[in-house]
């Protein structure tokens, strides 16, 4: 009897201690970057498919956007991997263009191996490091080495370490894969900014969740759940069927999402 009481007491003490150390409750200003609209739990493998290299901007943008939401207070590092031979076909992330994604361009590390085996090794090595939040691997072509077993291996490693892997792939073919989530990202016509009807507006993507589910929601349609989102400095913003974003904008503000600029400051401080 006494033993169970002491045990219960100890459990409660630990729970209180956990609540007190939780930054969310302790200090609202030090909140780590909140989960985005589409952010799934950390520690999983994602495949982000684009139809071809021409859509690579949108796919990489989505991957970096997701990577930003994977960052935590003491888990900040994001790595970008690309085979050296693929650089001209796909283009390299441009340091001056990364600001809009809340990533510190001077701290993003590019890994450029020669072979796919080295690339897979580098992903594994990176997610084993406890300072790495996410690894974005940009792979232009299908490879034999990147099969179900390889993706299963990565999934297990990612689940064990808590770091996320985002594999950016190209084409319409889908191979067997153990990745928990598969996204298809294609660009969509943007809404022009209010001051110039002929200018491009915020990036707008049509994101299809082909595999996996978010937050216990059931799959909406056989083809997968489809989101039409804008990428703003506050994060993702849902776009309704008429192409309006007004309601979502307010919702994002109410939920207390710090702006990307605030996120930047946090990452500089951390």
């Amino acid at each position: 009897m006494l033993g169970t009481k002491i045990h219960t007491l100890e459990t409660l003490r630990q729970q209180i201690a956990a609540l007190e150390t939780n930054p969310l409750l302790k200090d609202a200003a030090l909140v780590s970057v909140p989960a985005g609209l589409l952010a799934p739990p950390r520690g999983s493998v994602h495949e982000v498919f684009a139809d071809g290299p021409r859509d690579g901007g949108a796919a990489l943008g989505f991957a970096f956007a997701q990577a930003r939401f994977m960052q935590e207070q003491n888990r900040q590092a994001v790595l970008f991997l690309q085979l050296r031979a693929d650089a001209q076909e796909l283009g390299l992330p441009y340091g001056l263009g990364l600001g809009g994604f809340g990533l510190d361009a001077e701290r993003l590390v590019y890994v450029r191996p020669e072979t796919i085996a080295e690339l897979l090794w580098a992903i594994e090595e990176a997610i084993a490091c406890r300072a790495v939040a996410a690894v974005v691997a940009d792979i232009a072509h299908p490879h034999k080495a990147l099969d179900f077993i390889a993706s299963r291996r990565l999934s297990l490693r990612a689940a064990a370490s808590g770091a996320s892997v985002l594999l950016v792939r190209y084409g319409r073919e889908r191979e067997a894969s153990a990745a928990k989530y598969r996204w298809r990202v294609s660009p969509a016509l943007s809404q022009p900014p209010p001051y110039d009807a002929n200018a491009p507006g915020l990036p707008r993507w049509q994101v299809t969740l082909e595999k996996g589910s978010l937050g216990g929601r059931r799959k909406a349609a056989p083809g997968g759940e489809v989101f039409l989102v804008d990428w703003t400095e506050n994060g993702f913003e849902r776009v309704d069927a008429d192409g309006r974003t007004g309601g979502a904008r307010r919702a994002a503000a109410v939920s207390g999402a710090p702006s990307a600029a605030l996120g930047d400051r946090l990452s500089e401080a951390g």
Binding site: R54, D55, G56, G57, A58, L60, G61, F62, F64, N74, R75, Q76, A77, R84, A87, Q88, L90, G91, L92, P93, Y94, G95, L96, G97, L98, G100, F101, A105, E106, R107, L108, V109, Y110, V111, R112, P113, E114, E118, W121, A122, E125, A126, C129, R130, A131, V132, S186, P187, A188, L189, S190, P192, D196, N198, A199, P200, P203, R204, W231, G270
Partner: protein, 495 residues
């Protein structure tokens, strides 16, 4: 053509070094001649010399006289490891003789003495009475030129002892200062420097094997053990190192070197061992143990102070150290140019504004104020802008209505721009052309393929969105109305 080297049978037949080839052929009709390949011999001899660093860290090759060089080993402070100088000389020459190499060796208080004994006497150790030991040797033992030896012979000065006590001024006037220098060097009055072939490591640990080992796994296991020893030693002295070199001494007189670098000074044995394991993965076919490895040495370089406090328990654990170790491991396996990060420069030219530099051991650079950027920049940039063909813009300076890139047509519906980025003419190597100075260099017709010319003309950049929502960063190089028609390129993609 002259003879530079002979084997035993040839010298037994009466041939000698320096003899004319035609004379030699006359004496020995079935003479087999090979032309000497000096770079090859030097290379082989250098490898051979490196291997002797297992006896003493300072080895050098003396190129002055013999056609392949003389091996010089500085035995100061190491001879006791062999049980004295005599024993050391016996061991070192004996093991070479066992391999079938004709060798002559001597130990002397300076390079000149040892050289004279090796070339003109029997193997011996001379410690004190240098003058006495050299007195009976011919003057050629002083490393003199042919003309000097000849001149001394004419004067009847055949032995080194005959030079002692001679009038130095007269000798210098007759034979030049080099004779006196050589004499002084041999007698130890003038110090002679030697240039060590391998970098001197103050901190190293090594292991000898009774039986040679060959497997790379064994080598790596040993390197792990050695790393532990080295880290203990560094810890005692409060030091850390950024470079580590593994020397593998093969039985057949070759040395293999593996080097790894760390982003921050370390003495973490596990980390060092892992770096070598990753470096070995990159060796692939290069690793060749030959007949085995009988000694391994691990040396530390770029040593800096690393106090206990810096790696103590009270430091904030922000993961930076483990991230640095990750970068080290990746660099050691993939190469330093494969693990890079952005570095910014103050220029408006997009491809010059950002460079990728190694994460580990980056080149130090001066921080410069960065230029503000007015227009948005793309998420992806093509390393080399790709030419596109466009139909003519409605307004001469406006954006094009479409483009053909990689054989696919894209129709633009929205665009913004232009952002004009001027050429950095002050960096361009070509001279500024004055008006009216046009030469015939403009005849580019024999190069039909369009190519992107860096920094030749101003560019106008546009952000163009096609009917599928894809956003491209395209630019026009050159102006309408100029001598050459402007050309269009695709430079990047927006998200």
């Amino acid at each position: 053509m002259k003879l530079v080297a002979l084997d035993l049978r040839a010298s037994a037949a009466g041939l000698f070094i320096g003899q004319n080839v035609s004379d030699a052929r006359g004496l020995v009709t079935n003479l087999e001649l090979r032309e000497i390949d000096r770079p090859f011999i030097e290379q082989v001899f250098a490898d051979f010399a490196d291997w002797h660093s297992n006896a003493s860290p300072i080895v050098a090759v003396h190129k002055a006289q013999a056609s392949w060089g003389d091996l010089i080993v500085d035995v100061t402070g190491v001879s006791h490891l062999f049980g004295g100088e005599e024993r050391m000389l016996e061991t070192m020459t004996g093991r070479l003789e066992a391999l079938g190499i004709t060798v002559s060796g001597a130990i002397g208080p300076n390079i000149g003495t040892a050289w004279a004994l090796v070339h003109h006497s029997y193997p011996q150790v001379v410690q004190d009475n240098v003058m006495g030991a050299l007195a009976g040797l011919p003057v050629a033992a002083l490393r003199l030129e042919e003309a000097q030896i000849e001149g001394l012979r004419h004067l009847g000065l055949k032995r080194i002892g005959q030079l002692y006590g001679r009038d130095r001024r007269a000798l210098q006037a007759r034979f030049g200062a080099s004779l006196l220098l050589r004499l002084d060097q041999a007698l130890g009055y003038v110090e002679e420097r030697l240039t060590p072939r391998l970098p001197l490591a103050e901190h190293y640990v090594e292991r000898l094997f009774a039986e040679p080992i060959g497997l790379i796994d064994d080598v790596l296991m040993t390197s792990g053990d050695l790393a532990l020893q080295l880290s203990n030693r560094l810890e005692r002295e409060g030091l850390g190192a950024q470079a580590f070199h593994l020397f593998l001494y093969r039985v057949d007189h070759k040395v293999m070197t593996l080097s790894v670098k760390a982003a921050r000074a370390t003495r973490d044995a596990l980390h060092i061992g892992r770096l070598f394991a990753h470096r070995a993965e990159r060796l692939q076919g290069e690793y060749d143990a030959g007949f085995g490895i009988d000694m391994i040495r691990l040396a530390a370089g770029s040593i800096t102070a690393l106090s206990e406090a810096q790696i103590g328990a009270f430091s904030i654990d922000d993961g930076a150290a483990s991230l640095d170790q990750l970068h080290d491991r990746m660099t050691s396996r993939l190469g330093s140019l494969a693990v890079v990060r952005n570095s910014f420069a103050n220029t408006h030219i997009p491809e010059r504004a950002v460079t990728l530099e190694p994460v580990v051991n980056p080149q130090p650079k001066e921080p410069l104020p960065l230029l503000p950027i007015a227009a948005p920049r793309p998420l992806r940039l093509l390393p080399q802008p790709e030419p596109i063909s466009v139909s003519l813009a409605e307004v001469p300076d406006g954006p094009p209505p479409n483009m053909v890139w990689r054989r696919v047509t894209y129709r633009f519906v929205k665009s913004s721009g232009p952002e004009r980025i001027g050429a950095e003419w002050w960096l361009s190597r070509s001279k500024l052309k004055m008006k009216g100075e046009e030469t015939k260099e403009g005849a580019h017709s024999d190069t039909p393929e369009r190519h992107y010319r860096e920094g030749e003309a101003a560019r106008d950049y546009f952000l163009a969105e096609d009917d599928g929502g894809r956003r491209f960063w395209i630019f026009r190089q050159g102006l309408f109305g100029a001598a050459e028609a402007p050309e269009w390129f695709l430079h990047g993609f927006f998200s």
